[in-house]
């Protein structure tokens, strides 16, 4: 059975990218949608009340003075388009938040989950009854609570840690866990633990060579895992000219051994590309979420082969 899959990843809280993702099936003629990890945003932008209907907002180090309700709505949209979360506050609360990282974390959790909930509702509104399937697997930047919100959805299927039978009959394993990063994110672990995680899923596959791996982190030294080398202060060394592979060695071994049909990845936004590891087609479509551009990949799959594929810029 031939199927057309659209895969995108690392949309990091961008409303625009989520809406585009939901529309991508119809736009590209895909019948199944797969979203890789890192759905959630990285920053909260305070809208600081200045009295009356006035707010001061600093976005990308540019100060905006908001004076009307329309401007407020427009600014919220602009902030959301970059995947950031607008937060209405006042100077007193800001001072309090500066002293209390726990309170900031609580705001993050509240805003992240609110947006994921809105996204699930939008997915239901747009796709319920269309027959379009969405498979989603949060990534290392996504807090665990995100999974619970997705589980509640009737349109979006949570794929983390499972062998999922796609509508086309292909088996897919999925995980958003990554190898260790300098940021100590929500879902990361040592390579041996990753190896065990992958093996637990691979051992359940009935036809491993016709399966799909949907693993957030790319395989080590695949060319899809090149990121700037950082110093201990997380500063790119040599002005970002020194690129190093940061993918997972455990995943690479798993792909080399299992030789699935297709392996889908994200995590390294600048690692856009495709390659082959043995017979396996390996894809990282990259991410430009902050520009509201949905990078993705269309893959036409036959029963036991990849018939065609292309990376997209939508």
């Amino acid at each position: 059975m031939t199927t057309t899959i659209f895969f995108a990843t690392d949309i990091h809280g961008s409303d625009i990218c989520w809406s585009k993702f939901l529309n991508a099936g119809k736009f590209y003629g895909a019948d199944q949608l797969i979203l890789g990890g890192d759905m959630t945003g990285k920053a909260v932008v305070p809208f600081i009340h200045q009295g009356g209907s006035n707010y001061r907002v600093t976005l990308l180090e540019q100060i905006f003075e908001i004076t009307t309700e329309d401007e407020l709505m427009e600014m919220k949209k602009k902030v959301r388009s970059r995947g950031y979360y607008p937060y209405l506050t006042n100077p007193d609360e800001i001072q309090e938040l500066e002293k209390s990282p726990e309170k900031v974390n609580a705001i993050f959790e509240q805003e992240v989950l609110k947006v994921v909930q809105q996204w699930m509702e939008l997915a239901e509104k747009k796709l319920a009854g269309t027959g379009m399937k969405i498979y989603c697997c949060p990534g290392n930047d996504d807090m665990d609570e995100v999974d619970d919100v997705i589980r509640e959805s009737r349109v979006v299927e949570l794929a983390e840690g499972n062998v999922t039978m796609l509508a086309s009959g292909h088996e897919m394993i999925a995980s958003g866990w990554s190898n260790r990063t300098p940021w100590n994110t929500h879902r990361e672990e040592d390579e041996n633990q990753l190896a065990a995680r992958y093996e637990a899923m691979i051992s359940q596959l009935k036809n491993p060579q016709a399966s799909i791996f949907n693993i957030h982190v790319p395989p080590y030294k695949s060319g899809l895992d090149e990121a700037p080398e950082l110093d201990k202060d997380l500063r790119p060394v040599l002005a970002g000219n020194s690129m190093i592979p940061v993918g997972s060695t455990a995943l690479r071994s798993a792909i080399e051994k299992t030789q699935p049909l297709l392996s889908l990845h994200g995590h390294i936004h600048e690692g856009r590309g495709s390659t082959r590891i043995g017979k396996t087609l390996v894809i990282n479509p990259g991410s430009m979420y902050e520009q509201g551009t949905l990078l993705g990949a269309i893959i036409k799959l036959g029963k036991n082969k990849v018939e065609n594929y292309v990376l997209t810029t939508g």
């Binding site: 890192d38 990308l60 001072q95 940021w183 790119p236 040599l238 020194s242 810029t313």
Partner: protein
């Protein structure tokens, strides 16, 4: 007061050092390789070199604004190819970028090879006493081809080792090269014309086996070659006419410009701008100091005449080799001011690092654009294939094999290839022109993208800065293109090849450039048609998905 709360998440890196960014941009407008080489070829102009340097830098600063702005709006996107594709759509971006970053780089290979032998091999062989080898490698035909092959070998080694290693080589080369240049400048400013004349005769005899006095015969050969470029002065018109040649040296502060990690704001734009702008400013200043040093000791007139004497021979206008039988490398002429051979060798080695720290990136952008096109399925999948070591073998072959052919044509001057040196700049400038147009219209064609960028509020009289900078830089490029294609020398009844050698009167140049664009168009439309037959609509995969 906090204006942004950020959580721990992948990729939240801090800004890189502006000084590091400066080093890489500084090496791209490389004073010792591109600079010394192009200055020497510009021996027949009427505009002063110092005012030309200043005026060209004043225009090129707008190039820096354009590229820093585009990087801020579309970071991590891979440069001209993606920017143009995003703003114009598929075809134009592909054809301009593939030609500019891929095909044109074939022609740069023998030019890099020429610099390798003139800057590194010839003086060092001479310094170590290999007189015949030193003179042979400086000669025409096979020596240039051999040097081009050595260049390709070095570039292949860099790609094989990877940018992680080479970026460090570049940084060490910066310090070594600067030390070498400092010593050269000290020699130039502390020497005297008399000492130079004596040193020239003695050392040239020792290095290259010449005999007798070289100064007067060299100067006369330069006069016969109509060497006349002044250091200062010249009318504004004459100075402007020098710019289409001078940009061979300084049009590249954006080379390899990139930005990694999350863009947090306008500061990132300023850091990127600063790295490139400081590189342009410091290089321009160093070039002026170098000219003043040359004038003090070597003598400006002799410097220009020696260059004229060499290039008149190298370009085949005369068949008799000049009295100094090698390129008058100014660093070598400066070390002739000391009699200490060990110091000479150390300085020449230090000055060689300007080439080694620069030449390794010859195919860096080419590899990126080949990969980007392959990922867009506009080249075969194998083009982006990596071997077990992670080396892009096929992309390397796509560069190296045609480069060998072009290097041979250039070295042996087949089809008049040696006259089209500036086409190497022209091809990239045409691509830059496309990027300048993209920058001009970006705020209007991609309004939402622009409005949500860190440069949205940067305006001049209400017009976005990127548009204003794009208009000035684009206007400058248009001027260069008009001068190149409609050479002013030919318009006044002069005979080809004219001032720049790449006018419409030079059929070789037009055929080369035209062939490059024709091949690019054939690849684009050929693959587009192939993918269509496979059920992939290439227009659709780059079109924006509706949001609503």
């Amino acid at each position: 007061m906090s204006d942004l709360f950020v959580r721990k998440a992948t990729g939240m890196v801090r800004s890189w050092s502006v000084f590091d960014a400066f080093i890489y941009a500084f090496f791209s407008i490389n004073l010792v390789t591109l600079g010394f080489y192009s200055f020497s070829q510009m021996y027949y102009f009427g505009g002063g070199m110092i005012p030309a340097l200043i005026i060209s830098a004043a225009f090129i600063i707008f190039e820096v604004v354009v590229y820093a702005s585009l990087i801020a709006v579309m970071p991590r996107s891979g440069g001209d190819y993606v920017w143009q594709t995003r703003v114009f759509g598929g075809g134009i971006g592909f054809i301009l970028s593939i030609t500019g970053w891929w095909f044109t780089l074939w022609l740069w290979t023998p030019i890099y090879g020429d610099m390798l032998r003139q800057i590194v091999l010839t003086p060092l062989l001479g310094a170590f006493g290999f007189q015949e080898a030193a003179v042979w490698i400086a000669g025409q035909g096979t020596p240039l081809f051999v040097s081009s092959l050595l260049t390709l070998l070095f570039v292949a080694l860099v790609i094989f080792l990877g940018m992680k290693s080479y970026a460090r080589v570049q940084k060490y080369s910066f310090y070594a090269g600067m030390l070498g240049l400092l010593i050269v400048l000290v020699l130039l400013f502390t020497g005297s014309p008399e000492k130079f004349k004596a040193g020239l005769d003695a050392n040239s005899a020792s290095y290259f086996g010449t005999s007798g006095s070289l100064y007067e015969p060299t100067a006369q050969a330069g006069v016969d070659a109509f060497a006349s470029t002044p250091m200062t002065g010249g009318t504004f018109g004459l100075i402007m006419v020098t710019l289409p040649y001078l940009v061979f040296f300084n049009l590249w502060p954006n080379w390899g410009a990139t930005l990694y990690g999350e863009v947090r704001g306008a500061t990132d734009y300023k850091r990127n701008f600063s790295g490139m702008a400081w590189a342009l400013g410091v290089t321009t200043l160093l070039a002026i100091i170098f000219f003043l040093g040359v004038n003090r000791t070597i003598g400006w007139d002799f410097y220009v005449q020696a260059n004229g004497a060499w290039w008149n021979y190298a370009w085949g206008y005369v068949t008799e080799a000049p009295p100094l039988p090698v390129w008058p490398n100014p660093a070598m002429l400066a070390v002739f001011l000391t009699d200490n051979r060990l110091i000479q060798i150390i300085v020449l080695l230090l000055m060689s690092t300007w080439w080694f720290g620069w030449a390794g990136t010859l195919f860096l952008s080419s590899t990126r654009v080949i990969f980007a096109a392959a990922f867009d399925r506009l080249l075969p999948e194998k083009a982006a294939e990596l071997n077990d070591r992670g080396t892009p073998v096929n992309a390397m072959l796509y560069m190296i094999l045609p480069a060998i052919v072009v290097a041979a044509m250039y070295a042996y001057n087949l089809a008049g290839f040696r006259s089209i040196t500036l086409a190497a700049t022209q091809g990239i400038a045409i691509m830059y022109f496309g990027t300048a147009i993209a920058a001009i219209i970006l705020p209007y064609k991609k309004k939402e993208l622009f409005e949500a960028s860190p440069i949205a509020k940067m305006k001049v009289a209400g017009i976005p800065l990127i548009t204003v900078a794009g208009l000035i830089f684009g206007g400058f490029l248009l001027f260069l293109l008009v001068e190149w294609f409609f050479d002013p020398w030919l318009n006044t009844g002069g005979v080809p090849p004219g001032l720049y050698g790449i006018s419409i009167a030079n059929t070789n140049s037009i055929i080369f450039l035209g062939s490059c664009y024709a091949i690019a168009a054939a690849i684009y439309y050929g693959f587009k048609s192939k993918r269509k037959s496979e059920g992939i609509d290439m227009d659709k995969v780059t079109a924006e998905i509706p949001v609503e």
